[in-house]
């Protein structure tokens, strides 16, 4: 049936013979299928491009998929997405609990993949397409991975449209108000100026949006020339990268060195140093300071060079939490409050690969550790990419297709 080719199914389960067969059958039935065994990856995929249906395996011994299920049910972009749970849970009370949690269907393992495909078909028979990737009566919806804020504004600018662009990054929502193609207002939590709120939302490259065409109150436009604004925003981001180039990761915890004399410091430096009496990250310090982000960074850089600030060692579990997606699903603490600091957290400087953060499996890795080094040396250099994505794309263009 041709309509099935428009449906995207996400399968979250460890690969096995029956899962493989299920994936193949779903593809043969014309569905677009994505598979992952990792719940964090599944969450990331949902945020980037909400599927039309999710099949998730729940194993009582492994809470991660249960957490994923709950998050999917509560999140804006997936709360109305049907979810089929597969489970080995023999206890009927567990099965009832899953249904009460909001599962649209439940299949016991081991299953015949054909049965699951049939149930998927039944769901789609009665199901209206989710909010994402659907045209609404007076606007449209989609995901920011395919169409970012600049694209959206340019679209409205072309048609001289008025309306509101609602953005959702996963942990945060914001709105941009457009009057006849010009930006007249921008609202996002913790940003008290239109300009900063807008710049902040420019960098939301993952998440969802919906646009409603409507009349908006006429305020003075942010700018008469949107393109100039976009060009300058890019330069601001470049400038930030340049300043942060000589600093450790913005998530690095620093602390003031107490036994060094600080009487030669100016007022700004003293104030910033005081902020590090207790260990805190660079971003936290900037958020709470009264200075512009770039000025704040320069002060911190100067304090580091003077040896008045040192890096605080972070425990393994804290490092893992930083790199995890918990801050994107709103369950983790909100770290970033205002100004540009939020923009650049997205770039996740010194993002560590999974291998470095995944703990060694105790028994097998213990045996293997005798044979080969599996733990990275502490003094390993972590290079950052010193060009922007745009510059890399330019290089790529020059190299040819």
């Amino acid at each position: 049936m041709s309509y099935q080719t428009s449906f995207h199914i996400l399968v979250l389960d460890k690969l096995s013979v029956e899962v493989e067969r299920l994936l193949q059958l779903l593809k043969d039935s014309g569905y677009k299928v994505t598979h992952t065994a990792d719940s964090q990856e599944a969450l990331r995929l949902c945020l980037a491009s909400a599927p039309d249906l999710i099949i998730v395996n729940i194993d009582e011994r492994d809470r991660e998929n249960i957490d994923f299920f709950r998050q999917a049910k509560s999140h804006f972009s997936t709360r109305s997405t049907p979810i089929i749970i597969t489970t080995e849970a023999a206890d009927h009370r567990k099965r009832v609990e899953y249904i009460e949690m909001g599962a649209d269907d439940l299949v016991l393992k081991p299953y015949y993949p054909e049965e699951v495909v049939a149930r998927v078909g039944n769901i789609f028979q009665d199901y209206k397409s989710p909010l994402i990737s659907k045209t609404v009566e007076r606007g449209f919806v989609g995901n920011l991975g395919e169409m970012d804020l600049i694209d959206l504004i340019q679209t409205m600018e072309l048609g001289g449209k008025s309306g509101v662009i609602h953005l959702n990054r996963g942990d945060k929502e914001g709105q941009v108000y457009i009057y006849k193609g010009k930006i007249v207002d921008a609202v996002v939590e913790d940003y008290n100026s239109v300009e900063r709120a807008f710049l902040h939302m420019l960098t939301w490259i993952n998440g969802t949006f919906y646009v409603i065409f409507q009349d908006v109150a006429v305020n003075k436009p942010l700018t008469d020339n949107n393109q100039e604004l976009f060009d300058e925003a890019t330069k601001i981001i470049d400038q930030w990268r340049k300043v942060t180039g000589d600093l450790p990761s913005l998530h690095t915890q620093l602390v003031a060195v107490s036994d060094k004399p600080a009487h030669s410091l100016d007022y700004q430096e003293k104030q910033m140093l005081a902020a590090f009496k207790e260990p805190r990250t660079i971003l936290q310090a900037i958020d709470h300071s009264e200075y512009d982000d770039i000025a704040g960074l320069k002060i911190i850089k100067s304090l580091l060079e003077m040896g008045l600030l040192i890096e605080q060692e972070v425990s393994y579990s804290e490092e893992k939490n930083k790199a995890s997606l918990s801050h994107l699903n709103g369950l983790g603490p909100r770290r970033f409050k205002n100004k540009y600091s939020h923009i650049f957290a997205i770039f996740q400087r010194n993002k560590k690969g999974r291998d470095e953060l995944t703990p060694p499996r105790t028994s097998v890795a213990g045996a293997a550790a005798e044979m080969q080094q599996i733990v990275a040396p502490k003094n390993k250099i972590h290079n950052r990419i010193r060009l922007t994505k745009a510059e890399l794309l330019l290089i790529r263009q020059k190299l040819g297709a």
């Binding site: 291998d355 040396p377 060009l387």
Partner: protein
């Protein structure tokens, strides 16, 4: 704009180290890609390639056995965009050297890189489409084969490396 200040960088530079047991291959790689190339008496190769008025690529071909090599790595490695490790695909000794260097690099530095085996010595019976996209060892480390006498092969090597850098942002 009163709330946005404009600052212009005059030069943006992307730096790559080209390394491996064969200086000849380093020279060939850099020469294929660069407008300006200097080869010093100490067997170091410098190359510069202009992408735009504001963006340039620098390539440093450092030898293997010379005394200064460790020092060169110390200076250049922390700021490089990535490295290209070239060796003769058919030469067992060169392969062993490259393998050792690769293990050392990957344990010392977390960086994008590509390992490239040169097949110019004899014709390879494998369809290029099989290897020209590259094979990954990890999200940052790739492998491919090339014919060091062909400029487009050198470009392809750099393409794979640049693609891995671009993917890092995604």
């Amino acid at each position: 704009m009163s709330f946005l200040s404009i600052q212009k960088d005059t030069h943006r530079i992307g730096e790559f180290i080209v390394a491996g047991p064969s200086l000849t291959l380093q020279k060939r790689f850099i020469t294929h890609l660069c407008n300006e190339v200097i080869i010093t008496n100490n067997n170091t190769v410098f190359g510069r390639s202009k992408v735009t008025d504001e963006l340039q690529l620098f390539f440093y071909g450092i030898g293997e056995k010379e005394q200064y090599v460790d020092f060169a790595w110390d200076l250049l490695a922390p700021k490089m965009l990535g490295y290209i490790l070239v060796f003769n695909w058919y030469d067992g000794n060169e392969f062993s050297s490259a393998q050792q260097l690769l293990d050392e690099l990957s344990s010392q530095i977390d960086c994008h890189g590509i390992v490239v085996g040169d097949v110019s010595e004899m014709s390879l019976p494998i369809d290029p489409k099989i290897y020209e996209q590259g094979f990954s060892f990890s999200p940052k480390l790739y492998f491919t084969l090339w014919d060091s006498t062909i400029k487009s092969d050198a470009k392809n090597v750099l393409k794979i490396l640049v693609d891995s850098l671009i993917n890092h942002f995604e």
